[in-house]
């Protein structure tokens, strides 16, 4: 081919190319659509990290405190106050009446001259005791003492009545009543407030140490006139009554008195969330905590303690704790105003408490009887003050040494991200559980609409596996479990109608089938990482 021909060819090609013209058909009537981005993103969402305390944190709403014992084992405690008993519940002072008549022994019949005769005599009375009480002293806070003097003698009688057992608080002197009785005014009534006095019933008329004694000395003088007629049987009498006495403080011996703690129903709501399966606590204890500021010991009988299960079954307390009274001590007389704390523990060694608690009771019936100065308690000098109190509480301690087998918990949680699912076309939710607890869990998710109807269910599947337990009771290492939950486009569309999720969790401890109880130490944790792989569609139009 000659150069000329090549040149001609190239010229022809160039001319043809130029003459091909324009073709913008691709752009004709075309507009730019909204930008649609449809990536598939694999992203980490985050981590749910639970300690044992966190896992059972739901129980705290039902009054359970979650802590740990000295072995670092997680401890669930439930505390409730049963009753407080005041002094008046234990002791009321009865009205007391004492009377004495004294014949003058005179024989006077219009003797025509005046004569004067003096008498004095000391009397002892015993306070009436109803329950073997024997008081040394009583500081009264209320009530009255009514005294009546009477003379049968036809002459003027000057009298002085000294109540040695009633000591004026201010003067520290006995109550003294004196006056004159005449034939025209043969009776005199006197009254005084008891709160002004302290009753000292600890000495007889000879000064010997006794209890419950009231000593009264009567001095009187008969002034016979010339025309007085007095027979030998005529005399002087007195009576005195302690009306509605109230006390601030009583010393002595209270006697043997019983007090029934009212029938109590202890509501244990924290088991309500567990509907199926079993949980057995190996070492629970039911502690009755007494704070006693009364100056005497108490004997405690657990008349009736029984658990009422969720299904209404009644399981009574059995064992030695149910039959053997416990002793609640009181402060000694030198420690008035203080309280003595006594804990009576019901545990697996003295009762069937593990059986009661493991029944996941809804309620516990408690009926306790107390008795003052029980025979089994060491003798103690008693006192009782008006402000003294006996408070009784219960403390349920449940160390997490448990066997859990198929325990089902159901919780309904709000599901408020339905609107955000619009852009998701396919979703794989991955849950990676790293578990140090000797507790495995299966989960089922039921998505519900506003009417409570299920719109989509994620069937039950293992979420985390219980860690194996070593010979020291601790888990030997964490287990890891990966769960993928796939949602197709149609599934996600259903989820858009959901407003809540029923989260059904079925829990089982390691080797639960062999009745092995495992310990939950406070440093255990369960971490659940959430990740997602989502096909999304983002549209600039939206």
């Amino acid at each position: 081919m000659s150069i000329k021909r090549i040149r001609s060819f190239l010229l022809a090609v160039s001319a043809t190319a130029l003459l091909v013209g324009c073709n913008f058909e691709y752009f004709a009537d075309a507009e730019l659509n909204d930008f649609v981005w449809t990536p598939s993103l694999a992203i980490p969402i985050g981590e749910l990290s639970y300690t044992v305390e966190d896992l059972f944190g739901e129980l705290s709403g039902a009054g359970v405190d979650i802590g740990q014992n000295s072995d670092d084992v997680v401890m669930l405690t439930y505390e409730a106050q049963l009753q407080s008993q005041t002094a008046t519940g234990f002791l009321t002072l009865a009205d007391q009446t004492f009377a004495q008549e004294v014949d003058a022994g005179l024989n006077v019949n219009t003797q025509g001259f005046s004569a004067q005769f003096d008498y004095n005599e000391v009397f002892e009375f015993d306070l009436a005791a109803t329950q073997n009480e024997a008081f040394d002293s009583v500081r009264f806070s209320g009530g009255s003492i009514d005294i009546m003097m009477n003379s049968e003698i036809d002459a003027e009688v000057n009298y002085t009545l000294t109540l040695s057992s009633l000591i004026d608080i201010d003067t520290r002197l006995p109550l003294v009543v004196s006056g004159t009785l005449t034939p025209a005014n043969a009776n005199v009534n006197l009254s005084d407030a008891l709160s002004k006095y302290v009753g000292d019933f600890s000495k007889d008329k000879n000064g010997n140490v006794v209890r419950n004694k009231i000593v009264v000395k009567l001095d009187y003088q008969v002034r016979a006139s010339g025309n007085s007629v007095i027979q030998a049987t005529d005399g002087v009498s007195f009576s005195m009554s302690l009306i509605s006495p109230k006390f601030d403080l009583v010393y002595g011996f209270i006697g043997s008195r019983s007090l029934d703690i009212n029938f109590e129903l202890l509501n244990l709501d924290f088991f309500d969330s567990f509907k199926e399966g079993s949980i057995s606590f190996a070492e629970p204890s039911f502690n009755f905590v007494f704070d006693n500021s009364f100056g005497f010991p108490l004997g405690v009988n657990f008349n009736q303690i029984a658990a009422i299960t969720q299904k209404g079954q009644i399981i009574p307390l059995t064992g030695s704790a149910a039959t053997t009274p416990g002793i609640v001590n009181g402060p000694l007389v030198g420690a008035i105003g203080t309280s003595v704390n006594t804990v009576l523990k019901l545990n697996s060694t003295n009762s069937n408490i593990p059986e009661l608690i493991s029944s996941m009771p809804k309620k516990v019936i408690i009926e306790v009887n107390t008795e003052t100065n029980p025979a089994s308690a060491p003798a103690q000098y008693n006192f009782i003050g008006a402000s003294n109190e006996l408070s009784i509480g219960v403390l349920l301690e449940m160390p997490m040494i448990v066997n859990i087998n198929g325990l089902v918990s159901r919780q309904n949680v709000a599901f408020d991200i339905a609107g955000d699912l619009e852009q998701a076309k396919k979703l794989t939710l991955r849950l990676i559980a790293e578990n140090e607890l000797p507790l495995g869990g299966e989960i089922e998710l039921v998505f519900k609409d506003v009417n409570g109807d299920a719109v989509f269910t994620v069937s039950q599947r293992a979420l985390f596996e219980g860690a194996p337990v070593g010979s020291d009771g601790r888990t030997t290492g964490p287990t890891t479990n990966v769960v993928d939950i796939n949602f197709l486009d149609a599934d996600i569309r259903l989820l858009e109608n959901a407003t809540s999720i029923d989260v059904v969790t079925r829990l089982t401890t390691t080797d639960a089938s062999s009745n092995q109880a495992v310990k939950f130490f406070s440093d255990y944790s369960l971490k659940i990482k959430l990740a997602a792989q989502a096909d999304i569609e983002l549209n600039t139009k939206n």
Binding site: I6, A17, N23, F35, S40, A42, G46, E47, K529
Partner: protein
């Protein structure tokens, strides 16, 4: 025999050229050579034919990428409308992809030819944007990271270099060795205006953990240096004349060079080389550096318990893992140097084949593209056709160049893709150079052998 040698050599060069290709070039414009004085910006050793040349203001532009226009604005089957679809762009992507735009405005050009060379005085305003990205980036944009779980997405291939500056300079070309060797040089005073670029050695990777989908992000030298952009984006913070004052004069100055040489090996073979835009701009004024410290972080989500505002917490969690700041430290960038290598075979005194290799060193890589051109010269005009090839992922472009000498007035135009108007969606390159020069004394330097042989046409 001689003609056979020429043909074999031409074929060999053509095959060689086809083996390598990438980058951008004004191939057709380069072919106008001595006819159009402004081509000295591509090859300083070009000596114009006219004694005195005055170039009127003109402009040229180039845009090219490694995907076709229909990949950028694609159409679904049966849909008349366009869409931007990352999946389509991914399908069109190679392992490494580039997008380049270049706009050059020749503000004036004055040339004077002497017996042994030529002098020139010129001023240009130039702007270019070069983007380089790996297939991993496009795959991430198209498909997310789900296809790369347990694997690394390497974003280290991603680079951007955007430059705007104006230059004023003088040039001189001189003949040696009885005119067989021509050496040219141009010295330019450059004033940088606007700039944005990734820092040298910037790299980033994203690894998605196969178990928990956590992201391990590694960043090194993650800095974007800018200059002048704050004036544009926060113009309200500046006085009204601040931008124009900055554009006229600022501290971002440097001296740069264009160097070129042309050597006639044989009567029918000339080889030439040019290296343009040799220089470094020290950006001192209106500088902003957006830095993220070198780090490898793992993004594993947030603690979800007790969470109230998950989106804010998620954002804060990620932000807190990176230490980012903004500084105003001066920095230096090399001008995007460009290299032309060419070999021309003269079939006759008016017909020549040329093989051209071009490399843009913007990312300091040897990644040339090639072209084979034929030009024919007649009395009043020169025209040529050209085929260029940038790589297997790009189409072969057919270019055209034309220059006329009608009296003292010269018109010229050049394009590397003259078919662009016919279904432009099927092309990945578009460029155009057009201008008007006033040339005097053209025939003074014409040899008798250049006289038109009308009979041979």
């Amino acid at each position: 025999m001689k003609a056979m040698k020429k043909l074999l050599l031409t074929t060999a060069l053509l095959v060689f050229a086809i083996q390598f290709s990438y980058s951008q070039a004004y191939f057709s414009y380069f072919q106008l050579r001595e006819l159009v004085p402004q081509t000295q910006s591509l090859q300083p050793a070009f000596i114009p034919k006219g004694t005195f040349t005055f170039g009127l203001p003109t402009a040229g532009f180039l845009a090219q990428s490694d995907f076709k226009l229909r990949d950028l604005i694609s159409k679904q089957s049966g849909d008349v409308n366009f869409e931007v679809n990352f999946d389509v762009m991914l399908a069109a992507s190679a392992e490494i992809n580039t997008i380049s735009t270049d706009v050059t405005a020749n503000l004036f050009h004055v040339g004077y030819k002497t017996k042994n060379g030529a002098y020139s005085l010129f001023a240009n305003a130039r702007a270019s944007i070069d983007l380089r990205y790996g297939k991993d980036l496009m795959e991430f944009l198209a498909n997310g990271n789900s296809n790369r779980i347990g694997a690394e997405i390497n974003l280290s291939d991603t680079r951007i270099f955007a430059n705007t500056y104006h230059e004023i300079g003088i040039g001189h070309a001189h003949k040696f060795l009885e005119d067989r060797l021509t050496v040219g040089a141009r010295v330019k005073m450059i004033t940088g205006l606007f700039h944005a670029s990734t820092a040298e050695g910037a790299s980033g990777t994203l690894y998605t953990n196969e178990i928990d989908n956590s992201w391990r992000v590694s960043l090194q030298n993650a800095t974007i240096n800018t200059a002048g952009l704050d004036l544009l984006m926060n113009s309200d913070d500046y006085e009204s004349n601040a931008t124009s004052s900055y554009a006229m004069s600022n501290q971002n100055k440097t001296v740069a060079f264009d160097l070129g040489a042309k050597f006639k090996v044989l009567d029918w073979l000339t080889v030439e080389a040019a290296m343009n835009d040799i220089g470094t701009i020290n950006w001192k004024e209106q500088v902003r550096n957006y830095n993220t410290a070198d780090t490898t972080v793992t993004i594993s989500g947030i603690q979800l318990r007790g969470l109230e505002n998950s989106s804010d917490s998620f954002k804060d969690s990620i932000q807190n893992k990176f230490r980012s700041n903004e500084t105003q430290k001066e920095f230096s960038t090399s001008l995007p140097m460009k290299t032309y290598l060419a070999a021309s075979l003269f079939l006759t005194s008016r017909d020549k084949f040329t093989v051209i290799a071009f490399n843009n060193h913007v990312f300091k890589e040897i990644d040339p593209s090639f072209a084979v051109a034929y030009n024919h010269t007649v009395n009043k005009f020169t025209f040529g056709v050209l085929g260029s090839y940038r790589g297997p992922q790009n189409e072969v472009n057919l270019g055209l160049n034309l220059a006329t000498d009608i009296g003292p007035m010269q018109l010229y135009l050049a394009t590397d893709n003259m078919l662009i108007s016919n279904k432009p969606e099927q092309y990945s390159k578009m460029d155009f150079r057009f201008g008007l020069n006033l040339m005097f004394g053209y025939k003074k330097w014409s040899s008798k052998s250049d006289a038109v042989d009308l009979d041979s046409l």
